[in-house]
Amino acid sequence: MSLNDAVFFLLAVITAGSALGVITSRNIVYSALLLVVTFLGVAGLYFQMNAGFIGLVQILIYGGAISVLIIFAIMLVMDVEPHRTNPPSPRLPRRLGGIYLSILLVITMGAAIWFTHWPLAVGTTGADEMAVLADLMLGKYVVAFEIAAVLLLVAIVGAIILAKGADDK
């Protein structure tokens, strides 16, 4: 196992482990903080794949802005004991069903991915990857790029409408 593989597995364990922590923790503040670790782990994976710019954006936007937003939102709406904010599903059979299905899915997908002959391409990340990215976003993928902007607008409008609640006139 090369050093590269070792780094990958370390990052993968951190990412997946903290993601597991997000859903098992009973305190929603811990969940939010573990989510930050997940985001940073993903950023690490990006860096390992030589996608430096995306890695930086991941840290800035997800690790920084979005996680702060989540924690703010929790702070504003939390009115019960912290350790009861993220309770697991109360019914054990249902939980076991979920666990069973997840394991089945992991095994199936794992097998499908393991037994596939992937056409491995040699990465060609140049020095000026931001220029390449900008070229793609405003060139070939301009429709997706513009629609993504509209999507964000819709999300903001929707959040305001729903958060404002019923008419107060």
Partner: protein
């Protein structure tokens, strides 16, 4: 490249933004003009698309395609949006001071659908899909005083997010194998690998959720019932057609049947959807919920055409998707009128509608007969194409299940007709229907009959649209 062919999308987006701004500037009465502006712009989109139906252009090496197939669906979405907005005039009072945002979100949802129909690349399809569903999450929860509406919105958000994740996972596997996201280039790059099968099944599951095919239908009844009725209509006809538009393009172009027999997978999904949707619809006493289950069953019929994947089947998919807009919108429009007048959509509320408002009862009956596939309504011609396609492709059993289930569906559709004409109701007096909604009712009624009597026009149109696959 002739960018003027993107005019429908650009117009709809620009008007959506304009409506948002005008809603803030205008006061009280002037604000009503916002609805008229969105309506007119959608009619303009419809006319633009029809006038330039055969003008085609491939943008960015196939990433975005304006072709007859996309134009057919764009016309369908614009038409559905026009009918839904006309029909929502009855419902406006309940939207409080968020009326102009309603129109804006309708416009943006339509843009999302148009992008899905035109996108020739997995990423663009996904973004279009998200624009559409995010708009629907909001619109579903639009009745803020109504708990069922908020609950429906939240459920849709959570389940929709999961289905998007499944879809993306599938797309990422296909991308990893082929090294491209452009649909027309994928087919040449893939080989039969376990990961391909997993990816295709995940994509199918993701879209099956959007079109509410069994076993991915669990969300539909609750959300259809909780959402404001006009939005339910748009979810049932628009969102579903958009799902089919993208699904068809991906499966026919990107995944050759020789690599993986997705046709059989879809045939099984179609059979399950027809059986389960129709059987559960039998037991419903709430008309809105009954229509929700019936629309699950209808998705099954359309899926049968896609599973056939031949000329008749694909033509049937487009033909049926279009007539379904008229028939289903008509039925939902009557349900909206009854809901607004009586405050309920239980079947009892429809009692004696034939005496109270003969027009409403007539539209409901015709539309339901069309959904059941009784000649000479439009639904009969549609089912004829779909099932002949299935038989030609060797799925005799699928066509048989479809016919059997259509017969069963007549029963629960006619229960509503029975209530309307034979049922007795202590309340008498005609129901009030606003003029725009009346217009929508007339359009649905006439179109349902016309397409049924003279299917050649729509059929030729659908034929031109699917010529890109042949």
């Amino acid at each position: 490249m002739n960018y003027s062919l993107l005019a429908p999308e650009i117009l709809a987006t620009a008007v959506g933004m304009l409506v948002l701004i005008l809603g803030l500037i205008f006061k009280d009465r002037a604000r009503q003009s916002v609805g008229i502006i969105s309506l007119l712009s959608l009619v303009a989109v419809l006319i633009l698309v029809i006038l330039r139906f055969t003008d085609t252009q491939v943008f960015f090496n196939g990433i975005y395609q304006v072709d007859t197939y996309a134009n057919f669906f764009k016309a369908l979405f614009a038409l559905a949006a026009v009918l839904v907005i006309l029909n929502s005039s009855q419902y406006m009072e309940r939207f409080g001071n968020k009326k102009s945002e309603f129109y804006a979100l309708m416009m943006f949802a339509t843009v999302g659908m148009m992008v899905m129909a035109s996108a020739g690349d997995l990423l663009t399809i996904y973004i279009g899909l998200e624009l559409m569903t995010v708009s629907f999450y909001i619109l579903t929860a639009y009745l803020l005083e109504d708990e069922t509406s908020s609950e429906a919105g939240l459920k849709y958000l959570i389940l929709g997010a999961i289905s998007s994740a499944v879809l993306l996972f599938g797309m990422s596997l296909v991308f990893a194998l082929s090294g491209t996201t452009v649909i027309t280039q994928i087919a040449g790059q893939i080989s039969r690998e376990p990961a391909l099968i997993a990816g295709v099944i995940l994509i199918a599951a993701g879209f099956a959720f959007k079109i509410a095919a069994v076993p991915f239908h669990m969300w539909a009844p609750d959300i259809y019932q909780g959402a404001p009725t006009p939005i339910t209509t748009y979810l049932a006809v628009g969102s579903k057609a958009a799902g089919f538009a993208a699904l068809l393009r991906i499966f026919i172009f990107a995944i050759p049947l020789t690599q993986f027999n997705w046709s059989l997978v879809l045939a099984i999904l179609a059979a399950l959807t027809m059986v389960v949707g129709n059987l559960i619809a039998l037991t419903q006493t709430n008309v809105k919920r009954m229509l929700a289950y019936s629309s699950i069953a209808q998705a099954g019929y359309i899926l049968a055409g896609l599973a056939a994947a031949n000329q008749y089947g694909l033509k049937g998919v487009l033909f049926y998707a279009m007539l379904y807009v008229f028939s289903n919108t008509g039925a939902f429009a009557v349900a909206t009128a009854v809901e607004v007048n009586t405050g309920s959509t239980d079947r009892d509320a429809f009692n004696a509608l034939g005496q109270r408002s003969p027009m409403l009862a007539a539209v409901m009956t015709i539309c339901l007969l069309s959904l059941a596939g009784i000649p000479p309504m439009a639904g009969f011609a549609g089912k004829f194409y779909l099932f002949s396609g299935a038989i030609q492709a060797g799925y005799l059993w699928l066509a048989f299940i479809g016919l059997l289930m259509s017969m069963i569906s007549v029963y629960y559709y006619l229960l509503v007709a029975k209530a309307m004409y034979i049922g007795s109701n202590p309340q008498t007096g005609a129901m009030t229907v606003k003029a725009p909604a009346r217009l929508a009712l007339w359009v649905c009624l006439l179109a349902t009959i016309l397409i049924g009597v003279y299917p050649a026009l729509l059929s030729n149109w659908a034929q031109t649209a699917i010529s890109i696959f042949m």
